[in-house]
Symmetry: C2
Subunit: 334 residues, 2 copies
DNA sequence: ATTATAAATATAACCGGTTACATCATTGTT
DNA sequence: AACAATGATGTAACCGGTTATATTTATAAT
């Protein structure tokens, strides 16, 4: 592979001149530039990213750290991040962590020595202190779904609690008498917030007790199991608010198996609004997050952060919207 | 961030010694090693990946190039690739190309200058010649779903044509009289092969003509549209073999809207066996590819390739399996 | 024509590692 | 005691870029 020295030799100039041509820096005689460009073309020269990285201490790359590539929510968001990044000449490293603290920290260290310029971090297990090293290395960070205590970090999230309320209220509105909740991993704040939203609505109703909450894990399989348990524990349940769409899909599956008619015998609401939610049978009512917008905003914010000295951290909480589909469109009320 | 020079100073040795300690190379006095390790720990030193990359001309990273992160098939495979890679200390760059030739070539160039050690390439638009540069740079390649003419490249694929036959035969077996096909982008070999499989079975039947094939694009939306067109053109269609699961899901959606009972009025078979296929309502009969295994084998093969001088290219064609679920479990035959 | 000033290019140091080769310290041989 | 062989460590070149500074060349001013 041709190096800058090869090009310099070919064009009969110094490597500095070649570098200037490549980067449009400094003054170059028109004629020289032409010669150099020809040499570049002739040798099929592409600047070595690694060498550039070492020299510049930056890579023109950012990382998108996600807990689970199997939950379409994150790939959907990653798409938006990629789109924006690409428009600005950045590459995106997608890093899958299974939300294991060790893996996340490992990535964080490695990414720093890769000179990534910024990181969009989807992880609840990371503490403010873990980010210090990155900051010292001048790596910008945007947190998703996680507002850190010390507000030195920009964070994007949605109004999970309000979303949980909307979902639960809606189930009551369509006539559900006993609304259960399948929660995500309960030490994840988003899962907690959605649960709190649920509790805001049903927590004080006479029939409610904690056995109406089934703790699960944000996966389809988990939602399926959780729903089955609920059916056994509370056959009277006629509405379920699931903490995310995957679990809602699992619950739907369980309901079909159990022979419960959707939505008349059992209404279900999910959360996230992944593409898939519109494609279940019947289509799923869900609390739609602005997924693409989240990714887009996060990446734009990161760009601003990376290129602006005087950047100021902010916390953004986007609204969510209840999308009513057929899993709650009852034709009769029991 | 601490550098190797900082460590050397701290430990009172030369940088060469530190390097030797890090890489377990050459003879080091036990005592010296201890001192160095203490210095490393004290300074929280992590070798700079970029500098290592430049020096070693390798990165301990591989790339997984996929056409669409929105088709869960690829993330599912990526998972397997990541699992294996991680076990062997490799990082995986996931590169999304939308299967645009320009984007793919761009990635290929860039990855070379990133010193990636290997590439798993999911792309049908790449020709043998495009890979030459990579080979010159000693970058190993494994192709997926694409057997190149000159067999210098290792390629993994599944028996798409046989799969297409299985799917179509199954539809006839359950009593379908008019079986249509929704094909993927027809200049993609996998899509073609599946179509050929379909034609092997119905191509010579008296009722068949090409209008029973609807060309689509491997997306849910595309499958949805294609199915609708089919319903208009051929209301008598009672079986659809879709070229992948996403399109099958779209077709299912269309069928529901059209009021066609699944599976009795219309049976559907997909292809791929993505997780989602088991979760539709009713669950989708599909031709299961060994997705995880594919990713696992590909990555293992790549590892072998990267670490073995005398590596020999091979072509592997894995079997597919028809998974019968409810979209074809008819209770009555029309 | 001579000098000051600006423009264009080259030289060399640097980014942070790896490693061939040189050097110095030990230990073993005769 | 003298020398060879081996072990342990250091020096310096190199990977392929960028860029501050030095140097050369062209242009303007006197």
């Amino acid at each position: 592979m041709a190096t800058i020295r090869d090009v310099a030799k070919q064009a009969g100039v110094s490597i500095a001149t070649v570098s200037r041509v490549i980067n449009n820096k400094g003054k170059i005689k028109q004629e020289t530039e032409t010669t150099v460009r020809e040499a570049i073309k002739k040798l099929n020269y592409i600047p070595n990213k690694v060498a550039q990285g070492l020299s510049n201490q930056r890579s023109n790359a950012v990382a998108f750290i996600l807990p689970s590539i199997s939950n379409p929510f994150f790939p959907e968001m990653a798409r938006a991040v990629e789109d924006v990044a690409q428009q600005h000449g950045y590459h995106v490293f997608i890093c899958n962590t299974d939300d294991k603290r060790e893996k996340v920290l490992n990535y964080l260290d490695n990414l720093a020595t890769h000179y990534v310029d910024g990181i969009i971090l989807n992880s609840h297990i990371i503490k403010e202190a873990d980010l210090e090293k990155l900051r010292n290395n001048n790596i910008s960070i945007v947190m998703m779904d996680r507002v850190l205590e010390h507000e030195e970090t920009t964070a994007f999230a949605v109004k999970n609690r309000a979303g949980g309320r909307k979902a639960t209220e809606h189930l009551l509105d369509v006539g559900c008498k006993r609304v259960a909740h399948i929660s995500g991993v309960t030490d994840i704040p988003t899962a907690q917030d959605r649960m709190w939203g649920y509790l805001d609505v049903v927590g004080t109703l006479p029939w409610y007790d904690t056995s109406y909450i089934s703790r699960s894990d944000f996966t389809v399989e988990g939602g399926y199991q959780a729903a089955k348990e609920l059916f056994m524990r509370h056959p009277e349940v006629d509405g379920i608010f699931a903490g995310n769409d995957l679990m809602a899909i699992g619950a739907l599956r369980a309901a079909h198996e159990w022979g419960k008619a959707i939505p008349n015998e059992l209404a279900i609401v999910g959360f996230d609004g992944i593409d898939m939610s519109a494609l279940t049978t019947p289509p799923m009512t869900t609390v739609q997050q602005p997924i693409y917008e989240l990714g887009e905003l996060a990446m734009k914010e990161l760009l601003g952060h990376m290129n602006d000295e005087a950047y100021e951290a902010k916390t953004v909480n986007l609204d969510v919207e209840l999308i009513i589909r057929e899993t709650t469109m009852r034709t009769q009320q029991n």
